[in-house]
Symmetry: C2
Subunit: 127 residues, 2 copies
DNA sequence: CTGGGACCTCAACCGGGCTTGAGGTCAAGC
DNA sequence: GCTTGACCTCAAGCCCGGTTGAGGTCCCAG
């Protein structure tokens, strides 16, 4: 079991297609060494980075923000526990605010739909 | 006060830019008559249609779906009260399900962040 | 009748998060 | 040595909801 993995292995083990991995790399979220033949080789910690990226993505965090926080790690480093805790705290807040926003919209909508108005002067939905 | 309005008036009164109004028209969400000089003239009911579109948009409903429901009205018709009630019922459900989904993600995330795992076998976030 | 603001069309571009394809190279097994 | 599959780059395309710009026309007030 080599200490480095190819892009195919990374794709298989993370469930993320090659194309997306190359894209992440182009965005600076992950990094690779190149072999003499110009092929990518990843350290195994990259698996964790990819997991971190997918988890964030799943929460609706834009890649650019994920990049910002991953930039705080060494380029070949996996997220540590402390790192994960800080990020998750921040994302939890992000999720909460998205939920709040939707709930506020829903409540306003409920009042508005009740009145059936849909007019320009008076319908709270059309702010 | 003319029974018809220009695109500039529609833009001013609805708060939606010309470009977006032309785009809505290209998508079949609103309709216009053309003058001899090829300029658009809208019936006033179009203001309501635009309000309807913006309200839906605000709720996160894709334009294509808004188009589907607006297609049930005559091309120059404003949404009626009954129409609005049916649509709002449907959108309310849409909003509820989005909120549910986010809450489920949040709960799962909260459990996962608590364990700090971020591993591939066992982390619920990486399904 | 003229000036200028409102209007027209069509095409290109934006961001986000990739995918797809063309055309070429690398590496491992037989 | 040859085949085959995994890999490479770069460019273009997709979806969504528009915006921006170029180049041209309409129409109304003075």
């Amino acid at each position: 079991m080599s200490p480095e993995i190819t892009i195919g292995e990374l794709a298989d083990r993370s469930g993320v297609p090659h194309s997306a991995l190359r894209f992440y790399e182009s965005q600076g979220l992950i990094h690779s060494r190149r072999t003499a033949g110009n092929q990518r080789r990843y350290v195994r910690a990259t698996l964790r980075r990819v997991a971190f990226i997918r988890a964030a993505h799943h929460l609706g965090i834009p890649l650019s923000q994920v990049g910002e926080v991953l930039a705080l790690l060494p380029s070949d480093g996996a997220p540590t526990r402390e790192f994960w805790e800080r990020a998750s705290h921040c994302w939890r807040a992000h999720l909460d605010s998205r939920i709040d926003r939707l709930e506020r919209i829903r409540d306003r909508f409920t009042r508005c739909a009740g009145c059936g108005c849909l007019s320009f002067d008076g319908c709270a939905l059309l702010d």
